[in-house]
C-alpha cells in the first residue's frame, strides 16, 4: 500500500464532493412516490355525498393482518349514509397492524376503499393509529408528491 | 266430404241436445244401458282398449290402456275426472260438445266410471266457461232426476254421481296433476310424477283423467262396437277427431273428420274455405300452440298422429291455427311466448325463468333490439328447459318458439337486421294478460 493508492482514494472522495448529493432533505423535502404506491387508506363518497362503503366487510375477510373492523347498520330515510341498504356505522383500520397489501382495495365491490400515496402516519401512541371512519373519509393532511409512472 | 259426425252427435241430429229427451231420441244412453246390462267391467275396459281410442287432450295416450292401469284391489275409492279445462290456444272443440251435447259427456264419464269401478266423477271445467258450466249443471240435474246418475244408475246396481267443479282460469290446470291439485282445493301446480294419477290421483286415490272429447267418444264405441271404431283411420290413429280451425281461414270452426283420411291442405282449403283472395298459406300450428310450427311444405301431410309426428310436429289437441302470408311469424311467436310466460305456474325453475327469458328475447327482436346471437341463445335456453321441467307446459311450450326460429329463420334474421317487426294493423292487437 503506497502513496499511489491513497491518492486514488482521495480522488474518489473529491469527485464525489463535486457531485449533487443522492440524499434528500426529508422532511423538508419528500420523495415523490409512484402512482401505484400503496400508502394510507382513503374511504370515498359518491358525488351526492353518500358513502360508497355499504359495510359489507369483504375487506375484513380479505385482510391478512386482521386490522379492519366494520360494524354495519341499516340506512333509514332519516339517516341515509350510503347508497345501499346498509352502511358502515363503524369503520376502523388499525394502522399499527396494517401491512399495506392492498387486498382490501381489491376485495371492495364498490371501490369504496383505496390505498393512496401518503405514508406519513407516525403517532406518539398506539391508540392514535386506530383510524376511524371520519379520518379515513377525510383527505390526508400531509399530501405526498407523485411522480409519473415511468422514471 | 270427409266430415263424419260421430262424436258431434248434435250435428248428426241437426239439433242442440241439451234436453235429455232430445238426447235419448238421438240414441243417447243406449250405450250405457248396453254396458250395464250386457257387459261386465273388464269387458268395458277391453272395448276401450280395442277401439284404439287415444286421449284427445293433446298427449294422445291410449285411453283404454290408461283405464286398465287403475288398480282393482285398492282400498281407496276410484274416481273419473273429466278434464274440461280446454285452455290450449286455438282449441274450442270441447266447448261445443258441452254446450250442445252435454249428456253424451255425462254418459261417457258414467261409462268410464263403470269400467274402472269408480264411485264418483268430476268435471273440472275452466272458469271462463260459465255458460257451458250452467248447461252441464242443468244436464247433471236432469240425468239425476231420470236416474242416469245417483244410486243405481239406469236401474242397475252401479252407484255413480258426477260433480261439476269450476276452475279459476289457469292454463296449467289443464295439466292433469295440477288439475287434481286444484280440484282438491290447493294451488294449481303440477305434482311430481311418479306416482301417476292412475295409482295415486285425486285424494291419493286411483283416478282416471280424460279429456271431454275422449270421454264423449265412449258412448259411440260401446254402441257401435270397438271394431267399428277401430276400423276408421289407421292402426295407431283410430276413429274420428274434432278439429278446431282458426286463424286466417275463411270458415273457421269445429270439424269432425276421420283420422288419416284428410290432409292438412284439404282441411285448410276445402273444409275451412282457404284464405282471403291473394293470400297464401304461410304457417300452421296443427295441434294447438304447443307444437312445432309447420310451413307450406307440410300441407300434404295426412292428419293423424303418426303422420304429424313424421312431419316434425304433433296432432296435439287438433286446435289448428293457420296463418296466411299477411302476418308476421316473428310477432306471432312472441305472442305465443307471452302466453307461456303468463301461464307458467312458477313451480319449477327452468319453466318459470326460461319462459320469461324467451319472451324478453323475442320482445327485443320485435322491438328492433335483437342480436344475431339471440337465435342461438333461444336454442340453448330451450335445450336447457326441455326434459328438465316438472310438467309438459315448458316441455312443449318452447316448441312453437324453437321451431319458428328454425323453420322461419329468415324472418327472424330479417327482423334483427331491419330494426324489428313493424306494428300490425290495429285489428290484430290482442290484449296481453299479466
Amino acid at each position: 500500500m503506497g502513496l499511489d493508492d491513497s491518492l486514488k482514494g482521495f480522488a474518489i472522495t473529491f469527485r464525489q464532493m463535486l457531485r449533487k448529493p443522492e440524499t434528500i432533505g426529508y422532511p423538508e423535502r419528500k420523495t415523490p412516490v409512484f402512482p401505484r404506491f400503496r400508502g394510507r387508506h382513503r374511504l370515498w363518497t359518491h358525488d351526492n355525498g353518500l358513502e360508497k362503503c355499504v359495510g359489507c366487510s369483504l375487506c375484513v375477510a380479505a385482510c391478512p393482518a386482521d386490522c379492519i373492523r366494520v360494524v354495519a347498520e341499516e340506512n333509514t330515510p332519516e339517516n341515509r349514509v350510503s347508497s345501499g341498504e346498509r352502511y358502515a356505522r363503524i369503520y376502523e383500520i388499525n394502522m399499527a397492524r396494517c401491512i399495506f397489501c392492498g387486498y382490501c382495495e381489491v376485495a371492495c365491490p364498490f371501490d369504496a376503499i383505496t390505498l393512496e400515496n401518503e405514508y406519513e402516519m407516525s403517532e406518539r401512541t398506539r391508540g392514535d393509529l386506530l383510524y376511524t371512519k371520519d379520518m379515513l373519509l377525510a383527505p390526508h393532511p400531509k399530501p405526498v408528491p407523485v411522480r409519473s409512472e415511468v422514471p | 266430404m270427409p266430415i263424419r259426425n260421430v262424436v258431434y252427435r248434435q250435428r248428426e241430429a241437426g239439433q242442440v241436445l241439451t234436453d235429455l229427451s232430445d238426447y235419448r231420441r238421438a240414441g243417447g244412453y243406449e250405450a250405457l244401458r248396453t254396458a250395464l246390462t250386457e257387459m261386465d267391467r273388464d269387458e268395458t275396459v277391453y272395448a276401450f282398449v280395442r277401439s284404439g281410442l287415444r286421449g284427445r287432450g293433446g298427449a294422445g295416450f291410449p285411453m283404454g290402456r290408461k283405464a286398465s292401469f287403475i288398480p282393482k284391489d285398492s282400498v281407496l275409492p276410484a274416481y273419473v275426472v273429466c278434464n274440461a279445462d280446454e285452455s290450449e290456444p286455438g282449441t274450442f272443440k270441447d266447448r261445443e260438445l258441452m254446450e250442445t251435447n252435454p249428456f253424451q259427456l255425462l254418459e261417457g264419464i258414467t261409462l268410464a266410471g263403470y269400467a274402472i269401478g269408480a264411485v264418483r266423477g268430476y268435471i273440472y271445467i275452466r272458469g271462463e266457461y260459465e255458460h257451458q258450466a250452467r248447461i252441464l249443471d242443468a244436464a247433471i240435474a236432469q240425468a239425476r232426476t231420470a236416474g242416469f246418475l245417483g244410486q243405481g244408475v239406469a236401474g242397475s246396481g252401479f252407484d255413480f254421481d258426477i260433480t261439476l267443479y269450476r276452475g279459476a282460469g289457469a292454463y296449467i290446470c289443464g295439466e292433469e296433476t295440477a288439475l287434481l291439485e286444484s280440484l282438491e282445493g290447493k294451488r294449481g301446480q303440477p305434482r311430481l310424477k311418479p306416482p301417476f294419477p292412475a295409482v295415486a290421483g285425486l285424494y291419493a286415490s286411483p283416478t282416471l283423467i280424460n279429456n271431454v272429447e275422449t270421454l264423449s267418444a265412449l258412448p259411440a264405441i260401446i254402441e257401435h262396437g270397438a271394431d267399428w271404431y277401430a276400423s276408421m283411420g289407421t292402426e295407431k290413429s283410430t276413429g274420428t277427431k274434432l278439429f278446431s280451425i282458426s286463424g286466417h281461414v275463411m270458415k273457421p270452426g269445429n270439424y269432425e273428420i276421420v283420422l288419416h283420411d284428410t290432409t292438412l291442405r284439404e282441411l285448410v282449403y276445402d273444409i275451412a274455405g282457404g284464405f282471403r283472395p291473394g293470400r297464401e298459406f304461410a304457417a300452421a300450428w296443427v295441434g294447438g300452440s304447443s307444437v312445432n310450427v309447420l310451413g307450406p311444405e307440410s300441407l300434404d301431410t295426412p292428419l293423424d298422429y303418426e303422420s304429424m309426428a313424421e312431419a316434425g310436429s304433433s296432432l296435439g289437441s287438433a286446435g289448428c291455427i293457420v296463418m296466411d302470408d299477411s302476418g308476421s311469424i316473428v310477432r306471432a311467436t312472441l305472442r305465443l311466448a307471452q302466453f307461456y310466460r303468463h301461464e307458467s305456474c312458477g313451480k319449477c325453475t327452468p319453466c318459470r325463468e326460461g319462459t320469461l327469458w324467451l319472451e324478453r328475447i323475442l320482445q327485443r327482436i320485435v322491438d328492433g333490439e335483437g342480436r344475431m346471437e339471440d337465435l342461438e341463445l333461444i336454442e340453448s335456453l330451450a335445450g336447457r328447459m326441455v326434459g328438465r321441467v316438472l310438467c309438459a307446459l315448458a316441455d312443449t311450450g318452447v316448441l312453437p318458439v324453437t321451431s319458428a326460429v328454425r323453420r322461419f329463420r329468415d324472418d327472424f334474421v330479417h327482423a334483427i337486421e331491419n330494426g324489428g317487426v313493424p306494428r300490425p294493423e290495429p285489428m290484430m292487437e290482442v290484449p296481453v294478460g299479466g
Partner: protein
C-alpha cells in the same frame, strides 16, 4: 340447515348401483341425493329438505343423468334402484346444473355485499361450485320494493326469492300454521301470508334457517355481522326443559343470534327451534342484567369487585349459624353439585334444596321406560296427559304433529285447552281429577305408544301418576316427562330434592340463605317465601338478573347466564347435554361454577378441581345417575343419564285436595309470557301478559265482564288480573297465567305447586 337426510350406509337391505363410475351401495328407498352425499358426492339442491316431507322437485337443481332414462332426472325424488347407472358429473348433468343456476340467477339481484346471507348462502356457494360464472341475460331484472316485514322478526326480500317453497312447506306441513303461501304465478310469484297479516306463530323463525337465499332474514340480526366476523358455538337453548340444541353466533363478546345447528340433533329438536329459543338471546343484555357485584352494609349499597364480593359472601357464610341453600331451576349440574359439596364440607349441616316440584309421587311413572323426543315420530299412538306442550315444551308440538301426519293417533287429556288438542281426540278433565279421566280413557290398539305427561299436573295428583304408570307398563309403552324446569332433571340426578328450607326459614331455623340462580319471590309460593325470607338474617345471591331476592340480599354476585358458561343441563327426557359459552360474561360477572369454587376456597374447603369439566367429572363419580358421563362422552349431541332418578327423601307430595275455597285454580303458561320473552326486544310485539280466563258462564255467575279486572285470593296470597271470558275454557275452574314477570299469580300458589282454590271478586 340439514339439507341432506342422514343415511346409514351399513343398514340392512343395501342396493348396489353405479355412481360416477364407482360401484356403490345404499339402503333401498334412499333418495339418490342423500345416498350420493353420504358417499361423498354432492348433488346440489335448493328445494329439497327431507325434514319438510316428500320432495317436490321444484328447483330442478339436482338434475343428474341416469342411464336409460330420457332427459335428466331429479336426484331428490329418485330412490336408488339396483344397478342404476348415475352420473352427476357428465357433460349433460353439468349442463343441467349450469342451466338451472343460470335460470335462478336471471332474476336474482347480485346484492350479496349488502345481503345478510352473503358468505353463508347456499345459492352463492353452489353458484361458485356448479354455476356458469357468467350470465347471458342482458335484460333488466325483476324488481320489488324491499325489504318487507313478514313479521316483526322476519324481513322478506322478494327479489332474492328463488321460489323453492321451503318456507311455505314449513308453514303448511311442519308447523301447520297454514300462514305462508305463494301468491301470483310464474316469474311474478311471491311469498306472503294468506291473510296479508304478519306471520305470527311459535316457530316462525325456522323459515330464516331453511331459506337457501337471503329472501327471509332475521330482523334482530339484520346487518349485525358477516359470517367471517363471528364464531359459532353449539349449545343448548336453555329456556325450556326440552334441551333443544342450538348454535350461538358470537360477535365481539355478544350473542349475535341463535340458530339451529347445521347438523341437527334428530333425537331432540330435529333442527327446528321455537321463536323463544331463537329470539330470547336479546335478553342476555337486558337492563335488569346484573353486571356489578353489590354489597349492602347497614342499608348502604356499594358496588364491589368480584373478589371482594366473594370475600364478603365467605365472611357472612363463615360466621357460623344455620345456612340454607336454594338452587334454582336454571342452575347447571356443576353448580348444583358444587353447592351440594359446599353444604357437605365447608358449610357442614347446611340445608340444601332445589326450587321445583317435589314429585315423590312421580317415581312410578318416571321409572317406566323413557323415550326421546325423536321417538314420537314413529309412534302409533301419542297420549298427552296434562300440561300445555305448545307453550311449555314447544318443540314437542312439531314432533306430535309429525307423528299425526305419519298416521299416529293423538289423544290429549287435561284440564286446560291447548294447541295440540285439535290435532287429535281431546278429553277434558276436571281440575284435580286427572286420575278419573285417565281411568276412563279408551286407548286404541297401537304398535307403539308414547305417553307424554306433565310434571306439574301429575305431581299434584300422585294417584293419577300411578294410574298412568300402570297404563304405560301394561301396554309396553314408553313415556316422556313434560318437565317444568329447565334443568329439573339434572338437579334431580344429583339427588337434590325440593326440601324443607322454606319450612325451616319460616320457623326461624335459618340464619343465612344462599340462593343460586334461584328467585323464590317470583315463583310458586312467592307469598310464603316472602314471609319466610323476612326471618332470615342474611341473604347471599348468585344470580344473573336483578330480582326481589337480589334487591333484598346482603351480597349479590352476578353470574354468567347459560349463554356464557360451560355446564351440563339434563333435558326432561334424561339427556345430558353441554352448554358452551357463546358469549362473554360482563366484566363484573363470572360463571356460577367459578364463583362457587372460589367461595369454597375462601371457606377453607377447596375442591380439587378448577374447571367445569373436572367439576362435572367429580359429580359423575359421586352420583350414580351420572355414572360414566364426562364432557367427552356427552359430546356434541348429548348422552342419556341413568334412568334412576332418585328423589331426596325430604321431598314431599303435594296435598291431594286443593286448599281454600272457591274455584279450582288451573295455571297456564304462554310461550312468550315468561321473563325470557319479556326481556327480549325481538319478541316485544308477540309477548303476552297475565290474565284470568273464565268460561262466560262463570263470568256471569261472578258478575265479572270480559276485559274487567278481578282480584284472586287463595290461602297463600292474592293478585289482580285482567279477565278474559272464553267459551273454549270449561266452567268450574279459573285459568290464570303464571310465569309473567311482575304479575304475581305465583303468590296464589303453594311452594310445591300443589292445587289451590281461589276466590274471585271484582277489586
Amino acid at each position: 340447515m340439514a339439507d341432506y337426510a342422514p343415511v346409514d350406509l351399513t343398514a340392512e337391505g343395501q342396493v348396489e348401483f353405479e355412481l360416477n363410475g364407482r360401484r356403490v351401495s345404499a339402503p333401498a328407498g334412499t333418495m339418490l341425493v342423500d345416498a350420493a352425499y353420504a358417499l361423498g358426492v354432492e348433488v346440489p339442491i335448493f328445494c329439497y329438505e327431507p325434514r319438510l316431507g316428500a320432495p317436490i322437485g321444484a328447483c330442478r337443481m339436482c338434475l343428474v343423468e341416469i342411464e336409460g332414462m330420457r332427459g335428466l332426472q331429479t336426484a331428490c325424488s329418485t330412490p336408488v334402484q339396483p344397478d342404476m347407472v348415475v352420473r352427476t358429473n357428465s357433460d349433460i348433468a353439468k349442463d343441467g346444473q349450469d342451466g338451472v343456476l343460470e335460470f335462478l340467477l336471471e332474476n336474482h339481484p347480485l346484492d350479496c355485499p349488502v345481503c345478510d346471507k352473503g358468505g353463508e348462502c347456499p345459492l352463492q356457494d353452489r353458484t361458485f361450485r356448479f354455476g356458469p360464472g357468467r350470465t347471458r341475460f342482458v335484460e333488466a331484472k325483476r324488481h320489488f320494493p324491499k325489504p318487507l316485514d313478514l313479521s316483526s322478526v322476519i324481513a322478506l326480500d322478494r327479489e332474492r326469492c328463488i321460489s323453492c317453497y321451503r318456507c311455505v312447506r314449513f308453514s303448511q306441513d311442519v308447523a301447520e300454521d297454514k300462514a305462508l303461501v305463494m301468491q301470483e304465478r310464474g316469474a311474478a310469484a311471491e311469498i306472503a301470508t294468506l291473510t296479508g297479516d304478519q306471520y305470527e306463530g311459535r316457530f316462525t323463525g325456522n323459515v330464516i334457517d331453511i331459506c337457501p337465499v337471503g329472501a327471509l332474514t332475521s330482523i334482530p340480526y339484520r346487518f349485525t355481522a358477516r359470517p367471517w366476523d363471528v364464531t359459532n358455538t353449539p349449545s343448548i337453548c336453555g329456556h325450556d326443559a326440552t334441551g333443544t340444541n342450538v348454535e350461538l353466533t358470537l360477535r365481539e363478546g355478544h350473542v349475535a343470534r341463535v340458530t339451529a345447528r347445521p347438523e341437527p340433533n334428530y333425537a331432540v329438536e330435529e333442527g327446528w327451534l321455537s321463536d323463544l329459543s331463537r329470539f330470547a338471546y336479546e335478553g342476555n343484555r337486558a337492563p335488569d342484567r346484573l353486571t356489578a357485584p353489590l354489597i349492602r352494609d347497614d342499608g348502604r349499597v356499594k358496588e364491589a369487585s368480584l373478589d371482594d364480593a366473594v370475600d364478603a359472601a365467605a365472611l357472612v357464610l363463615g360466621r357460623g349459624g344455620r345456612v340454607g341453600i336454594l338452587v334454582g331451576p336454571t342452575a347447571t349440574v356443576e353448580e348444583g353439585f358444587l353447592a351440594q359439596e359446599l353444604a357437605r364440607t365447608a358449610l357442614g349441616g347446611a340445608r340444601i334444596q332445589r326450587l321445583g316440584i317435589p314429585g315423590a309421587g312421580l317415581d312410578a311413572i318416571r321409572s317406566q321406560p323413557r323415550a326421546e323426543l325423536g321417538d314420537i315420530d314413529g309412534a302409533g299412538l301419542v297420549v298427552i296427559v296434562g300440561g300445555d306442550p305448545p307453550n311449555q315444551q314447544s318443540i314437542v308440538e312439531l314432533r306430535v304433529r309429525k307423528a299425526r301426519r305419519r298416521g299416529a293417533a293423538v289423544i290429549t287429556v287435561g284440564p286446560r285447552p291447548h294447541a295440540l288438542e285439535p290435532v287429535g281426540t281431546a278429553v277434558r278433565s276436571e281440575p284435580g281429577r286427572l286420575a278419573a279421566a285417565i281411568a276412563a280413557l279408551d286407548l286404541p290398539e297401537a304398535a307403539s305408544t308414547i305417553v307424554l305427561w306433565d310434571e306439574a299436573d301429575l305431581a299434584a295428583e300422585p294417584d293419577a301418576a300411578g294410574a298412568l304408570a300402570r297404563i304405560v307398563g301394561d301396554r309396553g309403552a314408553s313415556q316422556i316427562e313434560l318437565g317444568a324446569d329447565v334443568n329439573g332433571a339434572g338437579l334431580r340426578a344429583l339427588g337434590l330434592g325440593a326440601g324443607d328450607v322454606l319450612e325451616a326459614a319460616a320457623a326461624g331455623e335459618i340464619d343465612t340463605l344462599l340462593t343460586i340462580h334461584a328467585d323464590p319471590l317470583d315463583g310458586p309460593g312467592a307469598a310464603d317465601w316472602g314471609w319466610a325470607l323476612g326471618r332470615v338474617r342474611a341473604r347471599i345471591a348468585i344470580a344473573a338478573y336483578a330480582s326481589a331476592v337480589t334487591d333484598a340480599s346482603t351480597v349479590v354476585i352476578p353470574a354468567a347466564t347459560h349463554y356464557e358458561t360451560d355446564g351440563v343441563y339434563v333435558s326432561m327426557t334424561g339427556r345430558a347435554q353441554r352448554l358452551r359459552p357463546g358469549a362473554t360474561a360482563p366484566a363484573g360477572a363470572a360463571p356460577g361454577w367459578e364463583l362457587l369454587i372460589a367461595l369454597a376456597h375462601r371457606l377453607g374447603a377447596p375442591p380439587p378441581y378448577r374447571s367445569a369439566a373436572r367439576a362435572f367429572a367429580a359429580a359423575a363419580a359421586a352420583r350414580p345417575a351420572l355414572a360414566g358421563l364426562d364432557y367427552d362422552v356427552i359430546g356434541v349431541l348429548g348422552a342419556p343419564v341413568a334412568a334412576v332418578t332418585p328423589v331426596s327423601p325430604n321431598g314431599v307430595n303435594g296435598p291431594r285436595e286443593a286448599a281454600g275455597t272457591g274455584l279450582p285454580l288451573v295455571t297456564t303458561t304462554r310461550i312468550f309470557g315468561n321473563a325470557a320473552a319479556h326481556r327480549s326486544e325481538a319478541l316485544a310485539s308477540v309477548r303476552t301478559g297475565a290474565e284470568l280466563v273464565l268460561n262466560p258462564a262463570e263470568g256471569e255467575r261472578l258478575g265479572i265482564a270480559d276485559g274487567a279486572r278481578a282480584r284472586l285470593r287463595s290461602p297463600h296470597g292474592e293478585c289482580i288480573l285482567a279477565v278474559r271470558l272464553a267459551a273454549d275454557h270449561p266452567a268450574g275452574a279459573a285459568f290464570a297465567t303464571t310465569g309473567v314477570p311482575g304479575a304475581g299469580v305465583e303468590r296464589l300458589l303453594p311452594a310445591d305447586r300443589g292445587p289451590v282454590n281461589v276466590e274471585i271478586e271484582a277489586p
